[in-house]
């Protein structure tokens, strides 16, 4: 196992930077998820680490070695692909043996390692089958086995679960996490599904437009999103973002809406708003930090319910507030109807304030 360090990594196509000055360190044994919407540069980054694409500038270090110009085969990595990329003409056994054969291991050692990997992944009975004779989940397992049999320094995974059906995906998610725990493997995992990243990864690197937006533990990213993109991308339902204006009343900062209401702020939030370089402030709040009232309450602001979605143990309400859609979760006992007038109270401790111009989170200091 080894650490992976990306320093100022750039991949450009003409004048377009698919990966734009990305720097991050994956510690030995860490599970890092690269997450972001399609076209954000996460898969390109992974391919750069794998050596499948030449880098434009920057450095990639795996272990103690700068691998910028090394062939994929010399980087001591293994990769699991979204479509599994099993060799269709080879049996499962031969698929697993291929990386070992290419490294010219003795035949009995190959056999021992293949059998061991098959045992770990519980597919000894499948060894003689061809990939097309396997179910999606089994193919996924073989792909994982082919990566694992080599005992590489780093595992690279490119959306390995997205071709599975929903139920299997959840199951394989726990298995992958267990796999990481047992092997203490260094894993770089690409996904567009923030839930996979949040549930499995030690750290997540949120990317958008080729730029690294935030790199931290899922809990930190969730609790302290660096900007509006991360705030809206991580978490489900998405964080509500409400564009407001800063104003002052009685010597302290408040937020005002074009709808006419004003939202008083706690001292720390007021200080943040005063520190902001613009009067355009975006208020961010997760569904669970907003309280729904059916009548006017002090410090609550008026909104109109739009849709009501009961899911069983929690009911999601979408409401219009100051031109934005706000997600609120309420206990199923709360009875709300669409178009009903409601009042929303924000948790001052857990609300987020963003600079409306730069879209960056506003710090208190």
């Amino acid at each position: 196992m080894a650490r992976v360090v990306l320093t100022d990594l750039v991949k450009s196509y003409g004048s377009f930077n698919a990966v734009n000055h990305v720097s991050l360190t994956v510690e030995d044994g860490e599970f890092v998820a690269l997450v972001g919407p399609s076209g954000c540069g996460k898969t390109t980054t992974l391919n750069l680490v794998a050596g499948l694409l030449p880098i434009t500038s920057g450095d990639i270090v795996i272990g103690d070695q700068v691998v910028n110009d090394l062939d994929p085969k010399d980087r001591d990595i293994a990769m699991v692909f979204q479509n599994y990329a099993l060799y269709p003409q080879k049996s499962v056994y031969k698929n697993l043996a291929f990386p070992l054969q290419m490294r010219k291991l003795p035949r009995d050692e190959i056999d021992r390692k293949v059998q061991e990997a098959a045992r770990v992944l519980d597919m000894t009975h499948l060894l003689e089958r061809k990939p097309r004779e396997l179910s999606g989940g089994q193919q996924q397992r073989v792909a994982l086995g082919r990566a694992l049999v080599r005992d590489p320094a780093v595992f690279l995974m490119d959306e390995p679960l997205s071709n599975l059906d929903a139920k299997l995906r959840v199951q394989m998610r726990s298995e992958l996490k267990r796999f990481h725990h047992d092997l203490q493997a260094t894993i770089i995992y690409v996904t567009h599904d923030q839930l996979e990243a949040v549930t499995m990864a030690d750290k997540m690197a949120v990317m958008n437009g080729g730029n690294l937006q935030q790199y931290d533990s899922p809990a930190q990213v969730f609790a302290h999103p660096a900007n509006m993109f991360v705030a809206s991308f991580v978490g489900s339902p998405a964080m509500s973002l409400i564009p407001l204006e800063a104003a002052s009343a009685n010597g302290t900062a408040v937020l005002t809406s074009a709808e006419g209401w004003r939202l008083p702020l706690s001292p720390i939030n007021a200080r943040k708003v005063q520190n902001a370089k613009t009067r355009k402030i975006v208020l961010g709040a997760r569904h669970s930090t907003i309280k729904l009232h059916k009548s006017a309450v002090a410090d609550a602001v008026p909104a109109k319910a739009y849709t009501v979605e009961p899911t069983g143990d929690v009911t999601f309400v979408q409401a219009f507030l100051s031109g934005a859609i706000v997600n609120i979760s309420v206990p199923p006992s709360v009875d709300v109807a669409p178009d009903e007038q409601i009042w929303l109270e924000f948790d001052q401790e857990r609300m987020h304030l963003f600079d409306g111009e730069t879209e960056m989170a506003i710090r208190a200091d």
């Binding site: 050596g51 060799y87 290419m102």
Partner: protein, 295 residues
């Protein structure tokens, strides 16, 4: 019988319209079958007649005294007819096999490159490759003859191999490119990560998967070279070098035409192609439809 069925369904009964189309289709197919199969059958029948029976009018539909004499004569290395025929046959095998082998050796890497690499002038080259196919082969006869004379290749089999490659390669490359386009690039990437060089990944993973395409390409080149007449007729003048199409024509029109002999020779000439095609046709059909739909 099918005509009767056609007539009976031709009455104006709208509910039977589907049937009429179906029968129309069947009749069309039957006519096509007749059109393609009868000459072959007639060739076979004539080849087992005696010379006299072959010329009779009205024709003998079935030879009164079937004989394999023509075949014996053609395959007998002792007499001059047999010697010539076997030599022509051998010449055709040499030229076609060389054309096929060289064609595959060139087309496989070329198609792979067109499929996988983005290089300057890629599109231009790819369509330039097709340019040759837009002109009838005869147009190139004189220029190529001059070129061959200049290269000193006239009256060699090399002139034919080079010419057939020029004509066959474009479509071969197109056929194979379709195959490579359909092989996921991740397979090669996986192989390269698993420890293979780019070349090893190609040879060990991609090549075996493109075998149907390679076979189809090979059949295509082989049949093209095997049947080609005009260039062989123009470039070769020495009797011992002739390929079958020219050889048969020249050989049998010298004196009075020996129709059973001509037909027997024609039949034997078509055997390798038919056998090749029957054995490998599933690959050929797959190659032609490959890339037509996304899997």
């Amino acid at each position: 019988m099918s005509m009767n069925a056609e007539a009976s369904t031709a009455r104006p009964r709208p509910r039977k319209r589907v049937d009429r189309w179906r029968w129309g289709g069947r009749i069309f197919l039957a006519l096509m079958l007749f059109y393609t199969a009868v000459p072959m059958i007639w060739m076979l029948l004539t080849s087992i007649k005696s010379g006299f029976a072959a010329m009779q009018l009205p024709p003998q539909w079935w030879p009164a005294e079937p004989t394999l004499a023509s075949y014996q004569k053609l395959l007998d290395p002792q007499n001059s007819v047999g010697q010539d025929f076997l030599r022509f046959f051998w010449n055709s095998v040499v030229v076609s096999t060389l054309t096929t082998a060289l064609g595959v050796i060139v087309a496989v890497p070329a198609a792979y490159a067109f499929s996988r690499f983005r290089f300057p002038g890629r599109n231009f080259l790819f369509f330039a490759v097709l340019l040759r196919n837009m002109f009838p082969a005869v147009i190139f006869l004189v220029p190529l003859f001059i070129l061959m004379r200049w290269l000193g290749l006239v009256n060699t089999h090399g002139s034919l191999v080079v010419t057939y490659l020029t004509f066959g390669l474009p479509l071969s490359i197109w056929l194979l490119k379709g195959f490579y386009d359909n092989i996921p690039i991740q397979l090669e990437q996986a192989a390269r990560i698993d420890g293979a060089t780019r070349f090893q990944a190609f040879v060990k993973i991609v090549m075996p998967l493109s075998v149907p395409g390679i076979i189809a390409t090979a059949i295509y080149s082989f049949i093209g070279a095997w049947n080609e007449y005009i260039y062989a007729y123009t470039f070769l003048s020495k009797n011992e070098q002739l390929t079958l199409p020219v050889g048969i024509q020249r050989f049998f029109s010298e004196n009075t035409t020996d129709f059973p002999g001509l037909m027997a020779a024609s039949f034997m000439m078509s055997v390798p192609v038919v056998v090749l095609f029957l054995v490998l046709q599933k690959y050929f059909v797959r190659a032609l439809t490959e890339g037509a739909v996304k899997h």
